[in-house]
């Protein structure tokens, strides 16, 4: 089992969700985050002092999936979230050792 952690632009969330639905993924957990990366933030001015907003609003999507659908999942996310512009985000794949569905106490791939 893997945890796919995708950091994407907020307004792409819906498309990513739909792309995942299409390949049959029906569970995910979403967090509002701020991202720092190459997409250097704008220089802004607040009451006269310049500052750089390095931390841009992003959305992080955590998806636990069986090993065999990782490639498909990553591709689906990547395609849906791409704008081609800097700051599109990253996908990380982390190993997961176990999963439990709280409601039923099911374990493993069946739980996700």
């Amino acid at each position: 089992m893997k945890l796919v952690k995708a950091i994407i632009k907020p307004f792409k969330l819906e498309e990513v969700k739909e792309a995942l639905s299409e390949i049959g993924i029906e569970g995910m957990t979403v967090t509002e985050v701020k991202g720092f990366g190459r997409q250097k933030g704008h220089t802004e001015i607040y009451r006269g002092s310049e500052y750089t907003v390095d931390f841009l609003p992003k959305v992080m999507v955590d998806i636990a999936i069986p090993d065999d659908v990782v490639a498909k999942t990553v591709e689906a996310i990547s395609k849906a979230a791409k704008t081609g512009k800097i700051g599109d985000g990253k996908i990380f794949v982390l190993p997961v050792e176990d999963a439990i569905r709280i409601r039923t106490d099911e374990k493993g791939d069946g739980a996700i």
Binding site: P10, L13, E14, K17, E18, V30
Partner: protein
Amino acid sequence: MSKKTSLFKLLALIAGLGLISGLLSTGLMAQEEVTEVVEAAVEAAPTPAEPDEDYLALVATYGATFDFFTISNLWTLIAAALVFLMHLGFATLESGLAQSKNTVNVLFKNVFIICMGLISYLLWGFNAMYPGDFNGFFAMGTPLTMADYGGTDFSYGGTGLCMTGWTDFIFQAMFAATAATIVSGAVAERVKLSSFMIFATLLVTFGYPVTGSWKWGGGWLDAMGFYDFAGSSLVHAFGGFAALACVILLGARKGKYLEGGKIKPILGHSMPLATIGVFLLFLGWFGFNGGSVLSAAPEAVSFVFVTTAIAAAAGGLAAIFVSWVVLKKPDLSMALNGILAGLVGITAGADSVTLYGSVFIGLIAGAIVVFSILFFDKIKIDDPVGAVSVHGICGIWGTVAVAIFQQEGGGFSFVTQLIGTLSIGAFAFIFSIIVFGIIKAVMGVRVSEEEEYEGLDIGEHGQEAYPDFQGATKG
């Protein structure tokens, strides 16, 4: 040093700018034939205008008191607008002290109450509360008609009710809905919306005018010499004890009172909203009390402004220091409640207590409210906004305080005041126990446990108060 030089430069800059703009404006002044404003009126003395016919007709109708009548009428209308604003005060205070998952529900109830209150008072309440001659205990209401209210003049009420019938209606109508609003806060976060809407309608339409008529409608309490200037009892204690009845029938919010007597506070979600609410209520109270003079009589209105503001301030200070000592921290929510407590306390005697009486009334109300809130929590009466303490308990306090702090020659009796306030509170309590009890039996008054956990916003309205999630997340 360099700071000072720079400051000096800035001042020099201002002076410089001043000179430039002086030159600029002199040019402009020439163009526009500058004349002095006030003096011009006097010196250039246009021949005094002949009053036009409309005006003469008005004066012919109203007599020599027309101008005073007009001022008084206008003041009461402005006061009505201020009392209206109190409904926004309640809406923001109550939603600020609720959890965010119940915010839409709290706001919705307040929007409903003011709309319903105005209409129901039009169709029934006003005429039930001010029935003219009646048995002193209960009168039937009827819809207002244009005929009754279109032709009022100074003879309607002299300096004691110096306004048109329309003004009388709208001022009283704004008051009426308040009783239900007080209940709204106390039952927040678990009451079933439809049940509350029915209860609130019945309370405002049929309950509130009854006790109202006892005093302001000239009923038995009035005959007894009971005094309640602007409604410490008739509005606030009434609302507070109705709230108490509902809370008892409704039960506490899940998770508030744990086994072993532990109390788990459920925190309000926005202190700025709550603070906005209290400031707006404070402002509105100038209309609530000031308008209750029912004319613009200068000394009475201005004295009422002073006692109202002073009692509110004293209440706030007392709550700050009492909570600081008792709870060890200067508690904002207690300070806010203290201000309201002072305001509720002064309401019964704003025109007839002494100046320093208003200070003491406020101080004591501010102290009472802290202990009262602690007390009700201890006996497991779960009142999220402290409505029972602020309006109920301090309403009683304010009513008896009229006798304690009365001006020389006032002649108010402590016993009469106590009888009056307890009768009103008792009526509100019993009325609510019965009506809310019937609603509970018939259709239930509480949302399901699950809905309570998930929040009433989703459960009752399918709407979130703060749905935003950085971009488009709804499909």
